[in-house]
């Protein structure tokens, strides 16, 4: 179970020290210091938290904190060492959910339970953004939230082909409502009935980043209980991080004797990112033409479904006139890492810089990605000439919806 140091001991020992993680760790590639790559991080965790041969110094905390949890090393590791889970577990051991000052910790928990920035915090942030004093790269909050627009059941137009529950995370719910609207319209247009369940919380990934296992458990228990009730063919997300949480991490957060564990396991294969889902059932309506060119940034949290990487390309391939221009290393991290870019802004900007060069090198005008965090962080770096959207938004436009 994530958060349980004992459970990970054997897995920590599976690190063969081969160094292949040096190829994929965005933080290491920016810092160019081996201490900041998985091999060393895991070793340092082993020496400090398991063998206790070294004290936990501020430097140890820095090494454990200075990780985006992008999962690139986990996905690539031949030894199957779940590095990001080990880092989260180490953070839990170090902080126990109290990583920042009480106010910030409270704010984060509020945001997760309310699924986004709403109410008073939203007004505050909106004001700060107007005055340009909010952290750069943070998306604009929308005071008109997705869940104030949509709740309950939405029958499709045309013949019904499937029924899904749509899980919107914090970003779609309170910052990128447009993506949510696009998903609703495109699914409905394709004969898919959509249910928006009530009382869902955020997916919990933010709590994991904080090492706050208790809050993460509270959140996933809430969500699993609600989602397990839905009589649907699939659970749809538009955000790859939400998808990763629901598909692959939730079950790892529940103790073996938790009655919800079986439900979480049963639910897992039903979770799809919306482009991937549309590919599996196929489009019912042919899209119209779009005379544009786009490029695609593959989000880091892609390891939970093998078909996720290519899903948007396959989905959009049927749009006449739409041109795909591949960037170099489309899987390279953008540096956002949820809220990482606020704490390590210099580092994140450095990581983003390489990505921006690759993106602008394509000569396209539209950037697609299925992660709202990547989209807003990249969009802040790209400037006004670029449109940065979820792939389904392009499809919506091709349908003229």
């Amino acid at each position: 179970m994530i958060g349980d140091l004992d459970y990970y001991k054997g897995l920590v020992e599976k690190c063969s020290h081969c160094a292949l993680c040096e190829a994929v760790c965005p933080v290491y590639l920016e810092d160019m210091l081996e201490t900041h790559v998985a091999r060393a991080r895991v070793d340092i965790i082993y020496q400090t938290l398991y063998k206790k041969s070294m004290p936990v110094t501020p430097r140890v905390r820095e090494i454990i904190d200075r990780c985006l949890l992008c999962t690139s090393c986990t996905q690539d590791c031949g030894g199957a060492v779940p590095v990001h889970e080990i880092i989260i577990t180490a953070r839990a051991a170090l902080y126990g959910g109290r990583k920042h000052d009480p106010l910030r910790d409270y704010f984060i928990r509020e945001m997760m339970e309310k699924r986004g920035i709403k109410g008073f915090p939203a007004l505050m942030l909106a004001a700060a953004q107007k005055l340009h004093v909010a952290p750069g790269g943070f998306p604009k909050v929308s005071l008109r939230t997705f869940d104030s627009l949509y709740h309950g059941r939405y029958p499709p137009t045309g013949k019904k082909r499937a029924k899904v529950a749509y899980f919107t995370g914090c970003a779609t719910n309170t910052m990128d409502v447009e993506t949510g609207v696009a998903v609703m319209k495109v699914l409905g247009h394709n004969g898919i009935e959509v249910v928006i369940p009530d009382k869902l919380m955020c997916c919990g990934i933010r709590a994991l980043g904080e090492g706050d296992i208790k809050t993460a458990q509270k959140i996933v228990r809430n969500n699993i209980a609600i989602l397990a009730e839905q009589e649907v063919d699939a659970i749809i997300v538009d955000c790859t991080s939400c998808g990763m949480m629901l598909r692959s991490e939730t079950a790892k957060l529940l103790p073996a004797d938790d009655p919800l564990l079986a439900k979480a396991v049963a639910l897992s294969p039903k979770v799809f990112e919306v482009s991937d889902y549309l590919n599996t059932i196929g489009l019912a309506v042919e899209p119209g033409p779009l005379a544009e060119s786009f490029t695609y940034h593959v989000p880091c949290h892609r390891g939970w479904t093998p078909t996720l990487n290519d899903a948007p390309l396959q989905l959009l391939a049927g749009i006449p006139g739409l041109k795909y221009s591949a960037m170099e290393e489309p899987e390279k991290c953008c540096g956002a890492g949820g809220a990482f870019f606020m704490d390590y802004s210099g580092l994140s900007r450095g990581i983003r810089k390489r990505k921006l060069d690759d993106i602008t090198g394509t000569g396209a005008a539209v950037l697609i990605s299925q992660c709202p965090g990547c989209r807003s962080y990249l969009s802040a770096g790209l400037g006004k000439r670029w449109k940065t959207v979820h792939p389904v938004t392009l499809l919506r436009r091709a349908y003229g919806l």
């Binding site: 063969s16 190829a23 160019m32 210091l33 081996e34 201490t35 790559v37 110094t57 031949g78």
Partner: protein
């Protein structure tokens, strides 16, 4: 005698004064991160300072300082070595070369390149292939290992069978000697007869003579086509004989890997390998060249395999699938730990026609000692990496493993082979080198070492054991 703490502190002060604080690390966590290479099981040795050099000038400053104060210096690339070479067993300074990562020139006209030594091999591959040029050496750590590390270890890889290994491509080097002076060896001409071949003495010197800062490399035209195939054999003997036969018939595949069924099973957990897992040994082959040559070579190999009774022959047409298979192959060494607690991969290399005999001997050694042995490696050039894998790390098993390794090495030498085909001697094979080369040659090596490094600061304790 200074205490460790005060030694570290004075190193930190001195080096920071020389280079600026940002390039010097001395915190215990950083020293731990630089304490071994990819073989931490064998030995660790903590440095007292890590220096992240960014220029030749930085290297000169550190070396002249270290030479003056007699502080050991261990150059380090990616730390992916498999011989303990970059493990600083005598403490001192570890020089991290990876920030010196600029490709300085790729010359299409001369078919050569000049780069800083910290360039990662895969990045170099990509850069030259963009120009439709080809740099064949492909140690399976290519995604991380550095050109400097490759030169220092004489790294090889699967393509060694057709294209040779790193030393075949090194034309010249820029290196910093322990006293801080800079030499430029060889050159950028593809043929040279200019006195002692210092380039090739530094190539394979494992950081014990000088710090390599730039490398001049020879390139080839990029073969336009390549094709992967897998041949499944019912026995190790058959596979070994097939390897010899393929070479004998004059077909030289770009890659001819020998993989036991266990390796295939593991690779399949990483990326799908589209063959049944009912064979004993799998030959993973790649041929390259023009479309006509590729087709012809595939045809010949297929013919040989059929005639000798291969269980299955699979041509991999899907390029993505082939890429997945090769990526899994590159990950084989960490994959082994999914099952075993410890895995020691040896580097004994035998003449190609002795492969069947070596395979047989390794199996017998394993059986007689009761230790799991495996062979997976570059069979095409006789470098099949016999190894020992342990389910459990106990003193008894460790001892047996050591014994098995000793026997394998002795067998390799007896067959006219070498104890290391590509990983280098470092720490882990130093006890065996004299057996292969004899005392006189080791003494000569020591005199060469003295000529470069009279104070003995460069990567001390490697290649030969100290009396």
């Amino acid at each position: 005698m200074k205490t460790e703490g005060s030694r570290i502190e004075s190193l930190r002060k001195d080096l920071s004064r020389l280079l600026g604080g940002g390039k010097v690390r001395t915190e215990p966590e950083d020293l731990l991160a630089y304490s071994s290479d990819a073989t931490r099981y064998y030995a660790q040795g903590k440095p007292e300072a890590v220096v992240l050099v960014e220029s030749v000038d930085d290297v000169c400053k550190v070396l002249s300082y270290a030479n003056q104060c007699a502080v050991p210096v261990t150059p380090r690339g990616a730390g992916s070595g498999l011989s303990g070479g970059s493990t600083p067993i005598k403490g001192g300074i570890v020089l991290d070369m990876k920030r010196m990562n600029k490709i300085l020139e790729i010359s299409k006209g001369n078919m050569t390149a000049r780069t800083e030594s910290g360039v990662v091999l895969a990045n170099f591959h990509r850069a030259v292939e963009k120009e439709r040029l080809f740099y064949p050496p492909d140690p399976q750590s290519m995604d991380v290992c550095t050109l400097g590390g490759n030169v220092a270890c004489r790294a090889g890889g699967p393509r060694g069978v057709k294209y040779g290994t790193t030393p075949n491509y090194v034309l010249g080097l820029e290196a910093v000697l322990p006293d801080g002076s800079v030499i430029n060896t060889g050159g950028i001409s593809v043929k040279q007869a200019n006195g002692y071949n210092i380039t090739q003495i530094l190539t394979g010197s494992e950081g014990t003579l000088a710090v390599i800062t730039k490398v001049n490399l020879r390139l080839l035209p990029l073969p336009p086509e390549r094709q992967t195939m897998i041949v499944v054999c019912d026995s190790a003997q058959l596979a070994a004989e097939m390897v010899s036969r393929i070479i004998y018939e004059g077909v030289v595949p770009a890659v001819l890997e020998y993989l036991e069924v266990g390796a295939i099973w593991l690779m399949n957990t990483y990326s799908p390998i589209p063959v049944a897992q009912d064979g004993q040994v799998y030959l993973l082959i790649e041929v390259d060249g023009t479309a006509a040559i590729v087709a012809e070579d595939i045809g010949v190999i297929k013919g040989i395999a059929e005639k000798m009774g291969a269980r299955e022959i699979k041509i991999i047409d899907d390029k993505k699938q082939a890429a997945g298979i090769w990526k899994a192959r590159r990950n084989l060494s960490p994959l082994v730990l999914r099952i075993f607690q410890k895995s020691i991969s040896e580097d004994v290399t035998v003449p190609r026609d002795k492969i069947p005999e070596m395979v047989k001997a390794v199996r017998e050694i394993g059986a007689s000692l009761g230790v799991p042995v495996g062979m997976s490696g570059h069979a095409g050039d006789g470098n099949i990496h016999p190894g020992v894998q342990l389910y459990e790390i106990t003193p008894e098993m460790e001892q047996k493993a050591e014994e098995a390794i000793r026997l394998m090495i002795e067998k390799g030498i007896e067959l006219g082979g070498t104890i290391s085909g590509e990983h280098g001697i470092g720490l882990h094979k130093s006890a065996y080198l004299e057996k292969e080369l004899g005392k006189d040659q080791i003494e000569l090596m020591k005199r060469i070492k003295y000529a470069f490094d009279p104070k003995g600061i460069m990567n001390p304790g490697k290649i030969w054991t100290e009396a």
